[in-house]
Symmetry: C2
Subunit: 244 residues, 2 copies
């Protein structure tokens, strides 16, 4: 079972104070880029893997999605999501992404924001998602970028000239990384970018778009402290399509 | 026009002494991985972009390729390639990859080893290659990996604990990088991995495989000084297929 760090009280309290938790989708700087990868959701069946507080589920319904299923492992997040939702076309279900059993040919869009890097058995999940999509359906997801997850010491270094650099090591050595982020010992799975792509191709997806996200000039003008994020991308965004 | 650094006498002399120049394909550590991406070449029409001394062209003919066209900008390299070749089914042609005019629907396989990162107008070249391939044909290429090309100071750093790290900066800022490798001021084009992939998809390729190359355990056992290359991949290998 994936470490359920979101139900750790210290982590949950910290996570609840993040901008993306307080303000929802618009509090996440990568959201405009991720949103741009989505098709028009009107009338579509949508699945959100790692739905958290349900911000995306509710937004998808506002866009006209026919129904939305949100899945998460965290009881605390689902409870808050349910409390914020009065829409019978949104269902929140607790499940472990390591062992999902999704209905076949059931969704037009599967969405996942910053959740898949917690999953150990990602190849199993990827195959499940492919099977759960309708032919022509799309998987749109974000994860922490492999350059971001690789290092043994994931923090900025200053070189001799005072320049900030991101100290990459261990990039090709995939597996768990333990970081102290909101709580001690948060476990994420480091995978190379090639592994994400080949895993998708291997189960029958066509890669439609890959984005190594960094803030735009406009975002940096509004939030100057984000400028460093262009030195190395914090997030990887992918659209993959089930063909046939 | 792409900087023709291979005809610089100092660079050419240095390049000629590299293992991959003296021993050919087997002197390049990434060759087994690149070879594994190629289809059976028997009876196929093959194009090599940046053929250099012609090692791959001659190998392709040994594998039964029907004919092989090698293209390079360097007169010195082509002269040596021609001198090493007595095979009328191999043609070497001098051309600038910035402005190729390839015949349409003519090749089963287009191959390129560590050449495309010199090309400024890569989107133009990619479209040309797509058009030059037969439907179902493959583009198989290697370039320096974007993690390798990004840094303003591309050399290993030692952190406070004495660990080697690769100091990434400027990853999202694409464009020329000047390095002193064999000669001063060698210009390569830094592109993100996403740009390579989206450019291929954009002209009509399907991504078939992506590999972020590092040495295998066996290679490190034979060449212990290659171990660092697993900290960050030096090369990116891609197979893309023209569908329809």
């Amino acid at each position: 079972m994936t470490q359920n760090i979101y139900d750790d009280e210290e982590f949950f309290q910290g996570y609840s104070r993040l901008r993306r938790s307080v303000e929802g989708l618009d509090g996440a700087p990568e959201w405009p880029a991720l949103r741009a990868l989505l098709p028009n959701l009107s009338g579509l069946a949508v699945l959100d893997l790692g739905c958290g507080f349900g911000w995306f589920c509710r937004w998808a319904r506002q866009q006209g999605a026919a129904h939305v299923l949100g899945i998460d492992i965290s009881e605390k997040m689902l409870a808050r999501g349910r409390a914020a939702t009065i829409d019978p076309a949104i269902t929140y279900t607790r499940a472990d992404m390591e062992r999902l059993d999704l209905p076949a040919d059931s969704f037009d869009v599967v969405y996942s924001s910053l959740a898949l890097h917690y999953v150990e058995n990602l190849s199993g999940l990827t195959a499940q998602v492919h099977r759960a999509l309708l032919p022509g359906g799309h998987l749109v997801f974000s994860v922490e970028h492999p350059i971001f997850t690789a290092p043994s010491r994931p923090s900025w270094s200053l070189d001799a000239a005072g320049r900030k650099t991101w100290p990459v090591d261990g990039y090709l050595n995939e597996g768990p990384r333990s970081t102290d982020w909101l709580a001690k010992g948060v476990i994420k799975q480091h995978r190379t970018l090639a592994t994400y792509i080949n895993m998708l191709i291997g189960v029958g997806f066509a890669i439609a778009h890959v984005e190594e996200w960094g803030p735009t000039e406009e975002q940096i003008a509004a939030q100057p402290n984000w400028a460093d994020e262009r030195q190395r991308p914090p997030f990887l965004l992918v659209t993959a399509t089930r063909h046939n």
